[in-house]
């Protein structure tokens, strides 16, 4: 009982001290028994949010399934940096088939396990935002709609990073990418485009949908663990900064994730059967500039004569998230 009185967040810090917690409350990542499913030695860039997110998520899923887990992986950075022939970083059964079929491949694995009566073996599918929100969207929606027993994890770094930073349907407005150049009357990505896949997933009324960021390990592990306790189609959308694609310092990956949450840019919530059941409240609300400024993909908004109108539009989007999900207050 005494442990429950300990506050995770101590005044003035954002850290969670494992030493303050009982052994069973400590994070999977802090444990010596973690599976290290995505092992060290892979070729991700310094500060890669996706590598971090995948490590957190898969280790948590492995812990939740006693290591009885199979992964299907979309083409993309995660696939390329983890499996350069003849090496692999995956200490788990892992398959890469194509860019756009990962959810379907995972469905096939789950079906095989069901046919063989292996109810103990669970399946996770993972991909980047391009492989999830664009090219893999048909298979993803099919997997949701059939309520196949798969946890799909999207590592969202908001563009096609593997091919050299091109726009995806998860790229935010005004962001510079190689295909949304900072030229012309409306530099960067267009406003009024893009899709919100967590909400589309909710519209399928699947058992579980959640968003998370690499800034909050405990929240991420909690959501993955919860997802693995449920059968049927589940979706977790993890916000993972890309230092290379965003033009951000590699040591700012966690900071940018936190600022995305605290500014309202990325609402962190969970939903069951289409209903929001929980949100991560903003603790210290920050203006959108705090999130935008450290990223070169938004550099054209600042400088000598800042594009205040565009910044205001981005702020309005964040404000809408805050209103929509009730991200402020106790």
């Amino acid at each position: 009982m005494e442990q429950s009185l300990v506050k995770f967040y101590q005044t003035g810090t954002f850290t969670v001290g494992n030493r303050l917690l009982a052994a069973d409350q400590r994070s999977v990542q802090s444990g010596a028994a973690r599976s290290n499913s995505l092992n060290s030695g892979h070729r991700a860039c310094q500060g890669c949010g996706e590598a971090l997110g995948a490590r957190y998520a898969i280790d948590a899923a492995m812990a939740a399934t006693n290591g009885q887990l199979i992964a299907a992986n979309a083409t993309g950075c995660l696939e390329v940096f983890s499996t350069p022939y003849p090496e692999t970083s995956w200490q788990m059964p892992w398959i890469h088939s194509l860019f756009g079929n990962t959810a379907a491949v995972a469905t096939g694995i789950a079906a095989a396990m069901k046919a063989k009566g292996r109810s103990d073996v669970r399946v996770v599918a993972q991909g980047g935002d391009g492989g999830t929100t664009d090219i893999g969207f048909g298979c993803l929606s099919g997997m949701f709609e059939r309520n196949d027993d798969v946890l799909y994890i999207c590592y969202d770094n908001e563009a096609y990073m593997n091919t050299g930073v091109q726009r995806s349907s998860a790229t935010p407005p005004a962001a510079r990418t190689a295909t949304t150049m900072t030229v012309g009357a409306h530099p960067g990505n267009e406003f009024g485009q893009g899709k919100n896949v967590p909400q589309i997933a909710m519209a399928h009324e699947i058992p579980y949908v959640a968003t998370a960021t690499v800034a909050d390990l405990r929240d991420l592990e909690y959501k993955v663990t919860k997802a693995m306790s449920i059968h049927g189609a589940r979706y977790i959308h993890i916000f993972v900064p890309c230092p290379l694609g965003w033009g951000a310092a590699s040591h700012d990956t966690i900071k940018l994730s936190r600022l995305a949450v605290e500014s309202g840019v990325f609402p962190v919530f969970e939903a069951e059967r289409g209903e929001v059941t929980g949100v991560l409240k903003i603790r210290h609300r920050v203006p959108i500039e705090d999130y935008l400024k450290p990223q070169k993909r938004f550099a054209h908004l600042f400088g000598k004569s800042p594009d205040v109108a565009t910044i205001a539009r981005l702020q309005a989007r964040a404000d809408r998230n805050i209103r929509r999900f009730g991200l402020l207050g106790e």
Partner: protein, 418 residues
């Protein structure tokens, strides 16, 4: 047991007797009755330990089969035409990963113009995708080939496409000798994968391979298909021993021993050609037929040997490569290279046009009289073709081709008038 049934039903039964563990279904004519039949068997409980999954596209159908096969399940799907094209990326992926999936292709034309009837353009589009392609002549053979296909696929760890003529076979009611479960179980053991996603023995499947080893990986795919040239006849012989029927193998010949003229074809049209050969033989004409059952791997030696004494070879094919001509005939030419006999290409039966005995008869008479050109389009209506060509010459805005052709033929006009 003998029964009278639809070709699709026969195939569904054959697949069910092969004890598949995952079946992915997406409707496309003329394949649909097969997966409907299998769905019925799974839902009724007649086919157990099997997941039947209604997917959202052909791309997903084969992708689900890829995941299931990699996880160690015997996996099956069926498609045709546009569906095969829509799953093209996964077709190459399944063979590249070495996954022994069996897929029926109910052969159908590819649009535009959209056409649901039979030809071989769909399978031909995937001839270099690394799958084995075996073609059925009859519904009995389609049934038999499916059972053999699982065995061939799993022995090689390569996917097999069983090709059967859409509608002509899939929708035809014929007498079928249906094997019983004990016979099939004796022939086809449970699937023992060479690679499998297993948490207790984790492997990485589908790693990236660069220039340092890509050629070797591709060569190994070729080497396996070359192994199949021995394996396919071997499995056909085993099949014959157990089931008492000649089905499968690389090629089959009819009256070729002393033939001056050998006709080569694939699929159901072989029956029509054999009937024509019988008629010509009755008139003393030395003509024979060679049916290609295994199109991939292509049985170069078998075809070369079987045609050694012929003066000419006529390839009747239900497909063609726009801009050059025949597809099957080009492969046949490579089989008989350095020999003086001409290999004549006859493109026939596109989009379901009937290949009649009368047309084949006339064609063969022309061939024997050395009047057949290197590339012939059987029963082509030159009147229609020339009218379109003329219109395009004289009118800038000549309109959509297919619509123009139908207008010339009067079909559209009569419908409007009616």
């Amino acid at each position: 047991m003998l029964e009278q049934c639809e070709g699709s039903h026969a195939v569904a039964q054959a697949v069910a007797l092969s004890r598949p563990e995952v079946i992915c279904a997406y409707p496309i004519s003329p394949q649909t009755h097969i997966v409907e039949g299998l769905g019925q068997l799974v839902k009724s409980g007649d086919l157990t330990n099997c997941e039947f999954i209604n997917v959202e596209s052909e791309f997903a159908a084969l992708s689900v089969a890829i995941g299931a096969s990699a996880a160690g399940a015997r996996s099956y799907t069926a498609t045709a035409s546009q569906g095969l094209l829509f799953m093209a990326e996964a077709v190459y992926n399944a063979s590249g990963l070495g996954l022994p999936i069996v897929m029926t292709v109910a052969n159908r034309a590819i649009g535009a113009p959209i056409n649901i009837w039979n030809d071989h353009t769909d399978s031909m589009s995937m001839r270099d995708a690394g799958w084995l392609q075996i073609f059925a002549e009859t519904n009995q053979e389609a049934l038999d080939l499916h059972i053999q296909a699982f065995k061939i696929a799993e022995e090689l760890s390569l996917p097999v496409m069983v090709c059967m003529d859409g509608f002509i076979l899939t929708h035809a009611y014929e007498r079928i000798d249906m094997p019983d479960q004990a016979q099939v179980d004796k022939f086809l053991p449970p699937y023992e994968p060479r690679q499998v996603l297993d948490p207790n023995e984790p492997v990485t499947i589908g790693a990236m391979v660069g220039p340092e080893a890509f050629t070797e990986v591709r060569y190994l795919a070729h080497a396996k298909q070359m192994q199949a040239l021995d394996l396919i006849p071997q499995i056909a012989a085993e099949f014959k021993q157990l089931f008492g029927r000649d089905s499968g193998g690389l090629i089959k010949t009819y009256q070729t021993e002393d033939a001056d003229t050998i006709v080569i074809a694939m699929g159901s049209v072989l029956g029509t050609i054999k009937d024509t050969v019988d008629d010509l033989r009755a008139q003393g004409v030395k003509v024979g037929v060679l049916g290609i059952t295994s199109y991939r791997p292509f049985p170069i030696s078998a075809i070369r040997d079987a045609t050694a004494k012929a003066k000419r070879i006529v390839v009747i094919e239900k497909c063609f490569a726009v801009g050059i001509g025949g597809i099957v005939s080009r492969d046949v030419r490579s089989a008989v290279r350095n020999r003086p006999q001409p290999v004549l290409t006859v493109v026939a039966g596109l989009g379901g046009r009937a290949i009649t005995k009368a047309s084949v008869h006339k064609l063969l008479q022309d061939a024997i009289a050395d009047k057949l050109e290197l590339l012939t389009f059987l029963d082509l209506d030159w009147g229609i073709v020339n009218r379109v060509l003329e219109r395009e010459k004289t009118q800038r805005r000549s309109g959509p081709i297919a619509e123009g052709v139908l207008r010339d033929m009067g079909t559209v006009a009569s419908k409007v008038a009616g």
